[in-house]
Symmetry: C2
Subunit: 211 residues, 2 copies
């Protein structure tokens, strides 16, 4: 799909200056990616930095035994710090990025990411803001794991999920939750049952309603 400056103006109101929007329109690649697609896996190289226009992407960290912990989500107008470091440093990815909801994004080629840093101060700001956000995301995730018990972690997990999808009913299985919190299905089932008894959630097959 071709990008027009006026379309970009709508999306990035006030964020980027006009000449930069022109450049983005010229070299950016407009993509739609459907849920379930892997954007990147550990060991792969990244050739462009994505800016999300719509949808959400899940960033996960695998270990060497098939487990995979959830790090954070990318949402509207977010970009990815890992892709930045990988691009700028020419290094392999250390994480997995899985498209969670159908996503629309603009891919910026590596060399432009670097070039624009000095040419457009709004771009530089954007890049640093991205680092800042992801760093904080990581710290929050760490807080959860280090300082909180599983039942609390489960609750904040559910809350974040409902926040990002803007709804109170989640379509998810216990198995999936267990995977993202790096624990077992039985444990999650047990804790969810506790939460249900405490009146915090309502459980159905493949669905969880947060009250």
């Amino acid at each position: 799909m071709t990008l027009t400056t006026s379309y970009l103006q709508e999306i990035f109101t006030g964020l980027f200056e006009l000449p930069l929007l022109d450049e983005i329109a010229r070299v950016g690649i407009h993509k739609r990616v459907s849920a379930g697609t892997y954007m990147i896996r550990p060991g792969e190289f990244i050739r462009s930095v994505p800016i999300l226009v719509r949808g959400s992407i899940k960033i996960m960290r695998p270990d060497n035994q098939g487990r995979e912990a959830l790090l954070y989500y990318l949402g509207g107008l977010d970009s990815c710090a890992m892709s930045l470091t990988c691009c700028m440093g020419g290094r392999k990815s250390e994480i997995t990025a899985l498209v969670e909801e159908n996503t629309e994004l603009i891919a910026i080629p590596v060399d432009k990411v670097d070039e624009w840093m000095c040419r457009y101060s709004s771009w530089k700001q954007f890049v640093f803001l991205t680092y800042q956000k992801r760093f904080n995301d990581l710290l929050q995730t760490l807080d959860e794991v280090v300082f909180h018990k599983l039942d609390e972690r489960l609750l904040t997990y559910l809350r974040k999920k409902t926040d990002s999808c803007q709804c109170t009913v989640l379509s998810i299985t216990h198995e999936e939750i267990a995977h993202e919190l790096a624990t077992s299905r039985e444990v999650i089932s047990r804790l969810l049952k506790q939460l249900e008894k405490a009146g915090q959630v309502k459980l159905m097959r493949n669905k969880i309603t947060i009250l």
Copy 2:
């Protein structure tokens, strides 16, 4: 203490170009900080970005109950990503930085950090490398907490410590370790005793020898 370009050349051999070294010599502030000093605490603002020449600094993340988990260490020629984001974004610190060994550092004023980004490509590289390193540090820490049990975490903790101080005998109490791993002293004592029985370490008052 005044900085000379020739001194900086010794330290940063091949890392920065000559004109940049000149600038660093002019505006950088050479400091010695002794062990035990707090460089920064949560809620404070940062007015300069430090580059470590010698020594080490411990970066910790507090929760709201007096606990404080170890994130990672800064060592030789490292800089701090948190200080970068804080400076570039004008935000408060979210972490604690405690000088672990007597440290020698060069403090770069905020405005120069930004200015040099475009003027010196070696500086830009340095900044991005710093982000990259800290990001990876954080990911590794997260790996430990999410995927490993306490006894393993304790071992890697001890190993990292010995690596950074270049010695096999650590001067540390069980209490301190417990604090950094966000658990209780009794648990650490118990696990250390296990490790001693397994022939991995040798315990003395205020000292732990890694075998």
